[in-house]
């Protein structure tokens, strides 16, 4: 089988391998985010009870001077 003199050099880089049954490199999915992003607004927290009114010292009425 004669193929004669060389003419050119061809670099062939196929997108798909011509070998049947050989799959391309497996696709690696992007890593999942560390914390899922909530899609529902969080429920409001329990209402903060009203702060009790500060104890106001009951001022005893001044003794009437007799």
């Amino acid at each position: 089988m004669r193929i004669g003199p060389p003419k050119r050099v061809i670099e062939v880089d196929p997108v798909e391998t011509p070998v049947p049954g050989v799959l391309p490199e497996p696709f690696e999915p992007a890593p999942a985010p560390s914390e899922p992003v909530p899609t529902v607004a969080p429920e409001p927290s329990d209402p903060v009870p009203d702060a009790p009114a500060p104890d106001t010292p009951v001022k005893e009425p001044a003794e009437r001077r007799s």
Binding site: M1, I3, P6, K7, I10, V19
Partner: protein
Amino acid sequence: MSVSFLPSSRLEHSTTAEPLIAWRAWTLTGGRRSGYLLRPIAGRANPWPRREPARATCWWPQRHASPDEACRCGLHAVSEERLLRWTRSPAVIGTVALWGRVIEHDFGYRAEFGYPQRLRLVCHVCLWRYGLHQAECDVVVRMERGRLLPLCRHHLELTRRCDVRLRSVSPASSVHRELLAGYAVDPLPIPELGLSA
């Protein structure tokens, strides 16, 4: 195989993403249990593996990446099927995909990687006398050293008349079917022959 050379600096370089399709001939080894294997006709190179690419190597003492512009190494193939007619006793003819580093010659290629695409068993005597279109075979005979030789009925009879010792005779259809299954390729259809010319 005969290759003549030019200085590498005179060779044009190009790139492509499509494998090159060319023509090639092989001998046949193996059996039903181990599976049938394609083997290069020249030299004692290893068989072409099934379901993985054949890769060129150079056995020259100063080893180098194959194919090299200044060497004869590489997976050889021809650009037209008619050029295979004068191959020395082929058992299988087919198309082959070539990729990697490929050196294009006037009548063929030397490639880094290759894998068969379509295959057909041929009677090598009919191939030599009539061409690929009339090289159909009927049986595959196993010769003394384990070599497998597809033959038509006519040339099987002539071989027997010459007192050539045949170890076994198998139907070509079953060998062909198992060869295709082993390499997971399609048969080379007759109408396809000659289209590349």
